[in-house]
Amino acid sequence: MKAIVTYLIGTLLSLQLFSDEYAVVTNNSVESVTLGQIKALFLKKTGYLGNRAIVPVNLSSRNPIRVSFEKRVLHMSFNRLKSYWTKQHYLGHRPPISMKSQASVNAFIQKVDGSIGYMRLEKVANGMKIVYRWSD
């Protein structure tokens, strides 16, 4: 536990030092996505862009990148999102799948067509498209 905390603090510090920039990325198969579309996809208000089924991938809920994403991109607080998904749950909608690490998200987006996720800007690899950037 202690190790994890130290690691996290270390990571945060290092991120602070280098960059606080994040990117919303898609699989290459996805063409262009607007901010509104990103919002709609991650709130599962739509599942498609054109004819393509889109798979949004979250990070796990307490991940600071996700917290930042929800705050800066979705403009919704944790509590608001919680009550939103509770309502949606009763309508049969589930929140996007979540991955534990940025590495997994990376692997996932590269492999799965129509997938969309977010990560630190410097983690973005080849074979994926940056559709949106934000920073703290």
């Binding site: 089924a53 799948i97 991955m99 534990k100 690490s101 590495a103 997994s104 998200v105 996932f108 799965v112």
Partner: protein
């Protein structure tokens, strides 16, 4: 043997009780001995089949539940991590957890589309190619005694997107838990080709041919059944030691055999007891009837302490006895009544017989009938009336019936035949008595007339006879007659004397019959009288040359009260008879006495008399004449007269003889008390 049953109800009961008691026992015993082994074996087989069945379905359920568990796990969103090659180890952690939950010898792993194991409960399998990847199209497959159960994983966001397979490698040895192990029961799972064997190592040599079958070997009862689903090539075999399966039966048979003797004894004991109890009242009844017949005592009542048919019988029997008893009692009473009636009737007859005149007879009869019949309105009338008893008397001379009168009974008619007969018999009796009275009076009159006639006649005859005797005696004394003339005259005289004697005797008889001869008793010396009689007749005996003796030693009386004339006449009569009928020998004459009587006994050695004639001697003088007069002189009235005179003195004469030519004995007895 047959008699044994027939003679005794108790034996019959006994035998039927024993039979009834033994029959179920014997049937049960023979059933257990001969039939139940099969049944129990079948039951055991059935039980084993059901157990096997249960296990088969348990195993099937077990496999199905594993499959379901897999399907569930494979459907988790988490499986999307396959796409990220399980970098985060989330799947592996889950699988490890699951494997721990199963707590069986198994391994869980995820194979991706390329056949690489990317997540596993066992770390050593990770990132290796799964060698049987091609087999995963089948949901379940068995390879090298390992069962592989797989479930296809689809992406949670796209159900058409196949991500790979979740595979469970299941060691079939896990099924061991479903095999019960007991010392007497063996079970194992095997393949028909014996390539696989799990469980007990008992060698049973079972050839598995059918889906399910039962076998009985010398030591085991075996059933086997095919498993289902993916394990359909495998068999579950159950074997139970025969001794154990049939233990209950053997125990039971042993128990039955051990119990046979006590049960038999018990049945016999109970049978004896109950048959005795049942028969006991009957025996008592029999004893009671025997007592009743023996002692003729109908008053007893039997007490039977039961509620059954025998009690009813006893009640009926008691009723019968009571009825019989009362009937007998009534009969006795009736009998007594009848006897009383009979005695009354005889008394009536007696009373009637004692009447001496016609009027008295009728009056007495009426009185007596009234007494018997308790009827007051009986009357005698000289005229005929209806419903009456007509009385007749006999006219002996004309031999016809003369109507006397009727006794009216004041009855409408005779309702009872017996009553009619009763009155008729009384009437007959009355008529008989009337006849008797008439006859007696008539006879008396005739007899008196005869006596008077004889008496008169004798007197009339005696007078000329005396003249004849007188004159003949004068002629005998008259000396101028020749000897022939004197003989003739003597004959005339003796004949006249004889006639006179006869007439005197007849007179005496007539006198006695007329009741005119009376005894003038006085104190006399009997010895003197007999001595004088002896002396008087001594010459007669001497003339005939007959010895004549007198003994008086046994006579102890000085004086005796009697009529000496009649006494002497009787003795003289008897002695002269004795001498008269004795030609040779002796006549002994004895006077004796004892406390009550005086005896005069005369024994002669004369002609004697036939026994059958003895009775005639005393009865009627004419008959005596016929018997005796042919050879001997005499009136023949002597004995008859003597007897009559003896009666007058209060004595009697008896004559004894042993037959013709054997002599005779006459005994004259006189009562001393009379004197």
């Amino acid at each position: 043997m047959l008699k044994f049953f027939q003679s005794s109800l108790r034996n019959k009961l006994l035998v039927s009780f024993i039979f009834i008691g033994l029959l179920p026992f014997v049937i049960l015993l023979s059933y257990t001995l001969f039939l139940s082994e099969n049944k129990i074996v079948n039951k055991s087989i059935k039980e084993q089949f059901s157990r096997a069945n249960e296990v088969v379905s348990l195993i099937e359920n077990h496999i199905v539940s594993i499959q379901k568990e897999l399907d569930f796990i494979s459907s988790l969103d988490l499986m999307d991590d396959i796409l990220a090659d399980d970098i985060d180890k989330r799947i592996s952690i889950l699988l490890s957890k699951k494997r721990t939950d199963f707590s069986l010898d198994l391994a869980l792993f995820v194979v991706n589309e390329k056949g690489v194991i990317i997540a596993s409960s066992e770390n050593e399998l990770l990132l290796k190619n799964f060698s049987h990847f091609s087999e995963l199209s089948k949901k379940k497959v068995i390879i090298d005694s390992k069962l592989y159960v797989s479930s296809i994983i689809y992406a949670s966001f796209d159900s058409t997107k196949k991500l790979g397979y979740l595979v469970l490698k299941y060691n079939l040895n896990n099924l061991q838990v479903y095999l019960p192990h007991e010392t007497t029961m063996h079970s194992y799972i095997t393949k028909s080709d014996s390539s696989f064997k799990l469980g007990s190592n008992v060698d049973l040599d079972v050839i598995l041919k059918k889906d399910r079958e039962s076998l009985i070997t010398s030591h085991h009862v075996i059933v086997y059944e095919k498993l289902k689903g993916i394990l359909k090539d495998y068999y579950l075999v159950y074997a139970v030691d025969k001794a154990v399966a049939l233990k209950f039966l053997y125990d039971f048979i042993a128990f039955m055999l051990y119990m046979a003797i006590p049960i038999l004894l018990l049945i016999i004991y109970i049978s004896l007891r109950y048959s005795k109890n049942i028969v006991k009242p009957i025996e008592r009844l029999t004893l009671a009837t025997r007592n009743i017949t023996k002692e003729q005592d109908y008053s007893g009542v039997l007490a039977i302490n039961s509620q059954d048919e025998i009690a009813i019988l006893t009640d009926s029997f008691n009723d019968m006895i009571q009825t019989t008893s009362s009937a007998l009692h009534n009969l006795e009473k009736e009998n007594e009544l009848r006897l009383k009636r009979f005695i009354q009737l005889i008394e009536v007859f007696n009373t009637i017989i004692q009447t001496t005149s016609q009027d008295e007879c009728i009056d007495v009869s009426l009185e007596e009938i009234k007494k018997i019949t308790l009827k007051d309105d009986l009357h005698f009338s000289k005229n005929r009336v209806e419903n009456s008893i007509d009385l007749y008397v006999t006219d002996f001379e004309k031999d016809e019936k003369i109507y006397v009168g009727s006794i009216s009974l004041a009855l409408e008619s005779f309702t009872d035949e017996n009553e009619h007969a009763f009155y008729n018999s009384i009437a007959s009796m009355i008529m008989l008595q009337l006849d008797r009275i008439r006859l007696i009076s008539r006879t008396m009159v005739v007899s008196k007339a005869k006596s008077a006639f004889i008496s008169n006649m004798s007197h009339e005859l005696r007078t000329p006879l005396n003249a004849i005797i007188g004159f003949t005696q004068f002629l005998i004394i008259y000396e101028e007659l020749t000897e022939d003339q004197q003989d003739t005259v003597a004959n005339i005289e003796s004949s006249a004397h004889y006639l006179l004697g006869m007439i005197n005797e007849i007179l005496d008889i007539a006198k006695i019959e007329a009741g005119k001869m009376e005894a003038h008793k006085e104190d006399v010396n009997l010895v003197e009288i007999v001595q004088s009689s002896y002396n008087m007749l001594q010459p007669l005996a001497d003339d005939k040359g007959v010895e004549f003796r007198l003994t008086t030693e046994a006579f102890a009386l000085d004086v005796f009260k009697t009529d000496p004339k009649i006494f002497q006449q009787i003795i003289t009569n008897l002695l002269s008879n004795a001498i008269k009928f004795t030609e040779i020998g002796e006549v002994s004459f004895e006077l004796s006495s004892d406390e009550h009587r005086v005896y005069v006994k005369i024994i002669d050695t004369g002609i004697g008399i036939e026994e059958e004639d003895l009775a005639k001697l005393f009865s009627d003088f004419t008959q005596v004449e016929n018997v005796m007069q042919k050879k001997h002189k005499g009136t023949g009235l002597g004995l008859s007269l003597s007897k009559k005179m003896a009666h007058i003195l209060g004595g009697d004469i008896q004559l004894f003889s042993k037959g013709l030519g054997k002599g005779s004995t006459s005994l004259f007895t006189l009562e001393r008390s009379v004197s």
